[in-house]
Symmetry: C2
Subunit: 194 residues, 2 copies
């Protein structure tokens, strides 16, 4: 395995999380997604509940008002972001791994040998996926997908100077409609070519 | 070779045209880029010069005023677009091929077995490329790149209901910084997986 760190940005419902896990498993390297939050909570400053509640939340003015501003001056969700930011850099130092979400592409933009991937797909494929695999009720599927992806975009656009889902942020963007296993194959091919 | 039609959207300076040619050559199928214009001109209604002058030109209000409105009611560049539109559909009927630019992804959006690819890269890579391969003077490189890509975006955004360079328009978006030969390898891998 080359000394590569893979970051995966992903639309909710695209299977990006599953792709990250499968890729990491096949490459025999760690995958950090929600695990990152556990790692942050281990630091002791924030409880896991606090971290989870403030994970990938957008940071508009309204949210700052009601999300709770702390004595440190920064709203809690921004402090959680910064703690994750540091954790991503720290884990990247340890060697090859996969990061799913958390603006890891942006956090690691000054590193060499980072492969930034974006996973997305059409609405119908996402809808079927969240009903079948995420257990979202059929009636709520569309709304949940739209809401979650809107939040992810806001989060990414707020913390980075880029636009979520714009091809030029990533080395590789893949529509997962072709199938998650095949997406993993393609990413491995890219790593082989690096 | 599977019965696949490949469309390539590309930033000016990314090597997308070269990638299209190389891919078509390796797959032993035709590649249409400027060739499309020759095909349109063959139809007889427009001279090749007319077609070339109006190729991939954006269509703002100002352009409509000064670009020349014809007796047919539509500005010339729109009529050239429509003639290309028809030619793309006609050529796609003949079998596997590669289309570079000309909104072919949009034109063929109702067809099965179409692979839409977008090629782009960072500004410095584009700058080096246009100086080395396109013969653009160093002093003019940046300006030429920005201007040409602005026009391409305007053209695409005008004729389609999508945003140029947004990952979700394509099955696959690849940063060509990795090298044009490797991009071709990756596209071939995708076709193999289809």
């Amino acid at each position: 395995m080359k000394n590569v760190i893979i970051t995966i940005g992903r639309e909710y419902g695209s299977g990006g999380h599953y792709i990250g896990k499968m890729l990491a498993e096949q490459l025999n390297i760690p995958c950090y997604d929600k695990e990152l939050l556990v790692e942050v909570a281990k630091g002791g400053e924030y409880s896991q509940e606090m971290v989870e509640k403030n994970d990938e939340k957008p940071n508009g003015f309204m949210y700052s008002l009601f999300g709770g501003t702390s004595s440190y001056g920064l709203p809690l969700n921004q402090r959680v972001f910064l703690a994750q930011f540091e954790k991503v850099r720290e884990l990247a130092e340890k060697g090859p791994c996969v990061f799913v979400g958390r603006c890891a592409d942006y956090v690691l933009s000054d590193r060499e040998n980072v492969l930034n991937v974006f996973i997305y797909t059409d609405m119908e494929t996402k809808r079927q996926r969240v009903i079948e695999y995420y257990g979202v009720p059929e009636k709520k599927a569309l709304e949940t997908i739209k809401k979650t992806n809107k939040k992810r975009a806001e989060y990414y656009n707020f913390y980075t100077d880029k636009k979520w889902g714009n091809a030029s942020n990533y080395h590789l963007s893949i529509d997962s409609k072709i199938g998650v296993e095949k997406v993993v194959e393609l990413i491995k091919k890219y790593i082989e070519l690096m």
